[in-house]
């Protein structure tokens, strides 16, 4: 039997149908076995998280909360070694970099042009990575939320073999009453890396989140927060490889199902993403 030849009108109808298809097409959820998920997506990414807490009142009163928030996110999908508070000494950091061998090092604390700080035995800031031991970051990605270090230590570390260094090239400001917004913007870099995205993707996601937060705070009249977010956004710096990754790309489960799955309210339901979270954000911005 001869194949039916479509008329021009029918072809035109199909064309219009294709054009009218929405950008975001979600499939129906399907049942999966959680064991399969963990077999398919083992915890490849080894993360060393450094977050000291010095004597109050201090910037670290707030930065440690940002680090805890990132730990809650990353610990469910990556293997995380958390050097918190008094554990974040130079000796411990050097030991864990050697033995735990992390692909990604994340840091929340004070920084200076040529060092990032941790904690000494007497609860005072102590340089944990500086120009003297920057070669320990060889073949690793470093993401830090601290002042200044991307201006000096970043290029030094990259020249000594660090794949990529993301940080701030001037003071990193926070506002005490709205500090979680500052961490939510800054941690987009390492959250994307834990999910298997490249450093450039993480950097772009952070800028998008900064822009959204700046617009929000300006719209409610909180210029104090908006101005400081804007300064941080302009100081976020990426040195080294833009395509560096720390693990293979994972599926991101689209919110709100993500939270339900995490809290095990729907333990055997996975929502297959057609569009990753970041792609959605980019589409929204372009629209």
């Amino acid at each position: 039997m001869a194949a039916k030849t479509l008329s021009v009108k029918e072809l035109g109808k199909q064309y219009v149908k294709r054009m009218e298809k929405p950008i975001l097409v979600y499939k129906k959820p399907f049942l999966v076995n959680w064991k399969d998920i963990f077999v398919r997506f083992p915890r490849y990414c080894h993360v060393l998280l450094i977050a000291p807490h010095h004597a109050s009142p201090d910037y670290t009163d707030y930065s440690i909360q940002g680090a805890d928030d990132f730990f809650a996110f990353a610990n469910s999908i990556a293997t995380v070694k958390y050097l918190r508070d008094t554990q974040a000494t130079r000796a411990n950091v050097e030991k864990e970099i050697k033995e735990f061998n992390p692909r990604l090092v994340v840091h929340y604390d004070h920084g200076s042009a040529n060092a990032i700080y941790g904690e000494s035995a007497v609860n005072t800031p102590q340089a944990v990575i500086d120009t003297a031991n920057a070669d320990k970051l060889n073949l690793r990605v470093m993401s830090t939320v601290s002042c200044l270090s991307a201006s000096g230590l970043g290029p030094t570390a990259v020249s000594k073999g660090c794949s990529c260094y993301v940080g701030y090239n001037d003071l990193h400001w926070i506002i005490t009453t709205t500090h979680m917004s500052f961490w939510n913007c800054a941690d987009k870099v390492h959250k994307k890396l834990v999910l298997g995205y490249s450093t450039q993707t993480g950097f772009d996601a952070a800028i998008i989140t900064y822009n959204a937060n700046i617009a929000y705070y300006a719209s409610i009249g909180d210029t104090f927060t908006a101005v400081h977010l804007q300064m941080d956004r302009d100081r976020l710096t990426l040195v080294g490889s833009e395509t560096a990754t720390t693990c293979p790309k994972r599926l991101e489960i689209i919110k709100p199902y993500y939270e339900l799955v995490r809290s095990k309210k729907i333990p055997d339901l996975v929502w297959p993403p057609q569009v990753f979270e970041l792609d959605k954000e980019i589409i929204n911005v372009r629209q």
């Binding site: 003071l171 400001w173 005490t176 709205t178 700046i214 300006a218 009249g221 909180d222 101005v227 804007q230």
Partner: protein, 89 residues
């Protein structure tokens, strides 16, 4: 200095003065309206970076005396207004 050079200097000075006054005005408006904007917050918000910690009033002092931090704030306020004027980046 030539006549054009002098004129140019004057224009830059006038712009810088306007930007500083605008920043001070925005911050003082925020300070007045703070209780409405961040309702529920018991403590006064502070901007913290490294060893620095300022309330809005103290930061206005930095802007007034044109320290490095004060100039950074003025610069950021100019950029913020420019971005919002064209609908955000």
């Amino acid at each position: 200095m030539s006549e054009i050079g002098k004129k140019y200097e004057e224009l830059i000075e006038a712009d810088a003065k306007a930007a500083k006054e605008d920043t001070l005005k925005e911050l003082s408006t925020y300070e007045k309206e703070r209780k409405r904007i961040v309702s529920g917050a018991e403590e006064e918000p502070r901007a913290i970076a490294g060893p620095y910690s300022y309330t809005v009033g103290e930061l206005m002092g930095q802007v007034e005396s044109e320290t490095k931090i004060g100039r950074d704030i003025i610069n950021s306020m100019i950029n913020l207004k420019a971005n919002l004027a064209r609908g955000g980046e």
